[in-house]
């Protein structure tokens, strides 16, 4: 029995999509020759040729803008921005162009582009290479945002993103690329907007996504030893997010904790908490809690970075507050 690595799942999603559809192309810095900073695009140029898999110069604004134009003219471009921090150079193309065109042009066109990027800490990469900026994109009507937390979702969400007629931001995580699971029997294309229950439980609900799921799972395991049964929901998709699934879980457990790696303030968790404080208000038996990064740039020092990232201890502490 083989194993499936996260970065190989990403690779396979692109390879399968390119095999299935000749209009799927890929470009970005070092995606062709080098196979990507995290090896996720390795071998694709060899398989699909230099016309469909291209290295670009270091011109983030232009290459994302090109993806928009390519998507308008018959291609399904996948563009890679190797760190989400570099998206700061390419926001216009995503936010003012891609996101708005379907509405702004009155439905004349789709913009079927995928922007693959990568966020998060754990590698000592410091303040400019560890940010989790997905909340910016989730705030922009017209964009979809997904954030796979395991190899199977990495495959299934990326395939869905490539198939989607609208622009999708796929946010991978640097600390997950090397993670692996036993090769699944099937690797379905997932539905954008659907959460998954990773662990059922009756005492409280943890909503999380991406690499933070690992801290949640570890915490839930330890809490189970004390008889505390945690339900863990993997959002998978942040825009749209599965409000129904969160509400249904809350209706079972009546307690909600949201865990993510992004800075807590104004992060993804804020919207989930806000919605549940509205539509889920009657279900709440306790305050809604969040575990996210404190309001500071990512530390470089390992000990500090460990403390900065969500970890089983910080999750357990929040759960104890929630059940107190």
């Amino acid at each position: 029995m083989g194993e499936l690595r996260y970065n190989h799942a990403v690779n396979r999603a692109m390879a399968d999509a390119m095999a299935a559809d000749p209009t799927v192309v890929l470009f970005g810095e070092d995606v062709a020759g080098a196979g990507g900073v995290y090896g996720a695009t390795r071998g694709l140029r060899d398989r699909y040729g230099g016309k469909r898999v291209r290295d670009t110069p270091i011109s983030e604004a232009a290459i994302v803008g090109m993806a928009v134009g390519a998507a308008l003219s018959g291609l399904k471009p996948i563009v890679e921005i190797s760190f989400i921090d570099f998206m700061t150079f390419a926001m216009d193309a995503v936010v003012n162009q891609a996101a708005k065109m379907r509405t702004m042009f009155g439905g004349q066109c789709s913009v079927p582009m995928v922007l693959r990027t990568q966020h998060g800490g754990g590698a000592g990469s410091g303040p400019q290479h560890s940010q989790c900026l997905e909340a910016w994109f989730a705030h922009v009507p017209g964009l979809k945002v997904v954030c796979p937390g395991d190899p199977a979702s990495a495959y299934g969400l990326l395939r869905a993103a490539i198939d989607d007629p609208d622009p999708v931001i796929v946010v991978e995580h640097k600390a997950l690329y090397a993670t692996r699971v036993p090769e699944p029997n099937s690797l379905p294309i997932l539905s954008i907007g659907k959460a998954a229950i990773l662990r059922p439980g009756r005492d409280l609900t943890i909503v999380s996504y991406g690499a933070a799921l690992r801290a949640a799972a570890e915490a839930a395991g330890r809490l189970a030893a004390e008889g505390i049964e945690t339900e863990i929901l993997d959002l998978r998709s942040l825009q749209p997010w599965d409000e129904g699934a969160v509400l249904a879980s809350l209706a079972r457990t009546h307690r909600l904790l949201i865990v993510h790696e992004a800075v807590e303030a104004f992060g993804i968790g804020a919207e989930i908490a806000a919605r549940m404080a509205d539509v889920g208000f009657d279900e709440l038996d306790a305050p809604i809690l969040r575990v996210g990064a404190p309001f500071m740039p990512s530390p470089v020092a390992k000990a500090l970075e460990r403390r900065y990232l969500p970890n089983p201890e910080s999750v357990i502490a929040a759960v104890r507050r929630l059940l107190a």
């Binding site: 011109s59 193309a93 042009f105």
Partner: protein, 326 residues
Amino acid sequence: MGKTAPTIAKPVSNDVRLRRLYRTMLTIRRTEEALVGLLAEGLIPGFIHLSIGQEAIAAGVMDVLTPADTITSTHRGHGHAIAKGIRLDKFFAELLAKDAGACRGRGGSMHVADIAQGMLGANGIVAAGIPIALGSALAHQTLERDAVAVAFFGDGAMAEGLLHECLNLAKLWNLPVLFVCEDNGWGEFLPTAQQIVFTLDRLAAAHGIPHVPIDGNDVASVAQAAGEIVANIRSGGGPAILDCHTMRVGGHYEGDPQRGRDPGDLAKAAARDPLTIAAKDLSNAAVAKIETEVTADIAAAIAFARLAGEPGWDDAVASVYAADAA
């Protein structure tokens, strides 16, 4: 790319061509003049940026394009949309933000688009259309279409790094893209001479991209030059720049008091009116006939637009994502 012989879209006798060019220019002119009135009536939301005096560039360049060719435009994009073939009734309805508009009234002046005609949008963001044209050219190249993409931009946009990234990329990938600079001497309220230190010809030379300077107010010259350049791009020659010298007759936006502007400069612009220049080589009868026809077309389009209905709220809310998406 190994293309077959270059095709100019509509090769006909010079006189027929000039009349066609004149008609396009006049349509743009009369359309924008009508917009001034409609704006004053309060029927047009937001600002509008007129291309009065600059019509020859849109008319001349678009004359050598086929419907398969694509363009991206700017905030000053009415002329580009009209010359690329948008229906006038849908254009006016769009400017009046009506549901029958080309963009169902959701784009307005700064975002007029006609995707089927290859007009990929006016753009409210300076320089933002340029990489979109590149991407479109990439699609043409990858899908081996006999098509080119054209990026229109103003001289003020030369200060945006995005243009420079795109020049490099276009050349690097030998993309079938034409850069058209509409150099009207201004970027908003400041002469571009006070904004830009380089000249486009020397910038082009640094990139090894052919640069063709042209009197942008002489529509025949524009069409002639554009025809030759586009033919070369079509045959795989790679990107080129058409640098059109023109003048902004009005303000930056309609209603701009043009405080800092020298009146002599305005007079000079009037003297170089592209319609007057083109009319010299046409018979009075031809000019009069075109005037009559264009006037009628525009009147009909405006009548249509005035009567058209408002866009619906629920439609707009439902317009953000494809209905059939996952």
